[in-house]
Amino acid sequence: MKFSVYRYNPETDNEPYMQAFEVEARQGMMLRDALMAIQEQDESFTFRHSCGEGVCGSDGVNVNGSNKLACITPLSELKETVEVRPFPGRPVIRDLVVDMSQFYAQYKQVDPWLIRKEPLPEQEILQSPEERDKLDGLYECIMCGCCSTACPSFWWNPDKFLGPQALLSACRFLADSRDQASEERLNSLEGPYKLFRCHTIMNCVEACPKGLNPTKAIGHIKEIMLKDAI
């Protein structure tokens, strides 16, 4: 199978280039396996990866124009020549490795931790199965960055617009019956950029390898804000 892979080493290359590789595709092989095979051919080729099963979120890349997790993307689903690039819109450190610090900084902006004001009980804080169900589709995020780096609003304003990942996380805590800081959370999302730069382009939904829907979460936050305003 033919691959065309983005290469850039700031120490030796004036500019990035695409390099051709060929990998013998076996039954059941994932894109990560192919990238590891390419690394065997050329040890200087660099990409991040770890768990190999789609839970650690390390190996997000842009393949044939879409952001995907390499370890759960079967080669059989990819059209040749497979073009593999780093995430769009992020500074490239080397080859497929991008600088994600802005992405992590936006996540931290939403105070992504449970806030309780009442004293804690001795045992668990009770939560009904129905209340718990509201976290499904929100808590499973693996922070791979496929969504935010596919989002045009995030490309244009990565420092001001929080991006789909951070907003999904904000929604996860707003949706948690145990959290007691909804008002502060909503207030902090006010203004023209942080939340409202989402133009429902929905690239994030298409990109999410876990099948989550950040656009819906963003819409849900807007709904709560609207209700509160009335």
């Binding site: 080493n9 700031p10 120490e11 030796t12 059941g28 690394q39 065997e40 040890e43 200087s44 660099t46 990409f47 991040r48 990866h49 770890s50 768990c51 190999g52 099963e53 789609g54 839970v55 650690c56 979120g57 390390s58 759960i72 079967p74 450190i93 080397r94 080859d95 490795v97 994600m100 992590y104 931290k108 105070d111 992504p112 931790w113 449970l114 309780r116 804690l120 001795e122 045992q123 668990e124 804080i125 009770l126 939560q127 009904s128 199965p129 209340e131 718990r132 976290l135 808590y139 499973e140 693996i142 922070m143 805590f173 948690d176 145990r178 959290d179």
Partner: protein, 586 residues
Amino acid sequence: MALEKQRFDTLILGAGGAGLNAALQLANANLKVAVVSKVFPTRSHTVAAQGGVNAALANVLPDNWHWHMFDTVKGSDYLGDQDAIEYMCREAIPTVYELEHSGVPFSRLDNGKIYQRAFGGQSQNFGGDQAARTCAAADRTGHAILHTLYQQNIRAKTHFFDEYFAVDLIQDQEGIILGALVLDIATGEPLLIEAKTTLLATGGCGQVFRTTSNAHINTGDGKAMILRAGLPLMDMEFFQFHPTGIAGKGMLITEGVRGEGGYLINKDGERFMEKYAPNAKDLASRDVVARSIVTEVREGRGCGPEADHVMLKVNHLDEAVIAKRLPGIRESSKIFAGVDPVKDPIPVFPTAHYVMGGIPTDRFGRVMPTSDDDGDHLPGLYAAGECACASVHGANRLGGNSLLDILVFGRLAGKSIIDYVRDNPSHRPLDEANVEWAMGRLGRWDNKGDGITVSDLRKEFRKTMEDHAGVFRVEEMMREGVEKVRAIREKLADVRLTDHSSTFNTNRTEALELENMIDVGLSIATSALHRKESRGAHSRPDYPKRDDAEWMKHTLYWQEGDKLDYKGVRSQPLTVESFPPKERVY
């Protein structure tokens, strides 16, 4: 250029559950704490834990910590230290409540309490009916816990060194650890972190085997650093093969599948666990189930064209149960086995999963440097989680006890460190010679020229470990294994990198990881060769019985001269009576 140095009260190596739970205690106590992780914290392998964490909350069935303790001692095949086990099982309960308060999205029961499922090796009333002790967030419990702990550490403003690779511990002439030399992966710049206390929380080493549920990063770095610092590893022969990895691939299918009612069948459709464990059947302890699967396959009752695996049947369960309780497993089975478990059984075979052995510690997480039963700990050095050996798992770990181990002992190590730093407020002077030695280990990889590649030697090594230190072990096979791994260790000197750049050089970090894996692999192979009995996960057809008179003791392995020594099991619990060794049947 002068080596950059930074000083902290505590250095934590590793940002999985153990490292992050320790960091949280320390940051909350306003200590200056550095967490070094070779990956962004939420990529640590705790994230992949599926089934849950054990605590005798009694939310579903009657339970108490003493029953949990009995099951853990029995599960350990009586090699676990009963003081540490008692402590862990008692602490499980407040630990899980604390996690819940921190925000972990546990699944819930109708009464609003935390959902608990049945797991292997669990019983009520000291060996009676099946218990339901495993607290779960669907089948993504590790993910839920790791993300919550990271979130709490953001709140507590813990100082993270993300994507820094720890090269070696730095010690002085007395052997006291003064911190570590680390490498900024993005820039290739070394950094010396000096610390009054150091906690190793570097996780497991499943990558030493070819087929494993473990991530690419699980290369035993902390264990290898301990060996190179002249300290021992304990009970390394005890390596758990999880019964249900996806056949031929190794990805984990949680024991929770069997806890929810799934069971194993052979090519004749026979529910074979009934033969091997008439009472517990598919929920027998992991070592028992893994051996049963391998036996079925060896005796010609395997499934598939190669007859090389068995099937995990789930499709008799309600689709709604699978969707609600096992959504991640359904996804993984579809992706990696091409099977929707709602319709068809999942092809499975044992996969290298967890090392019970590790850096010997007492129940406060303090590293114990000698084989002396009454020996003292090494001041200022701590270890917790899979890299450590407290020893709560003994010869075989129960499912749901690993998340528990990292949380309880991570937290406790944090608290021990707070006390130590209060009593020992100054840094000790650096030993420059030792820093140079560590820099030399790094510099060695700048050697150019032709040689063996990292990936070629890694392949040879991992295959050797799989062939010579797997589920069943006999003398000749293991002796050959030790010789082969020693030869591989010699070959390390001939490995050359083709990539010598500074920026995000994974060729170099993988070379450092390979060194670590080989050091750790040799500790496994050597310890295994010399234990002439079958106990827990260490199964020897040539010595099929457990031998308590001769072998109810911990193995200690030192790298220098591949030396072994032994020390007694701590069979005396803290407050209750000891559980004496009994025949282990399920």
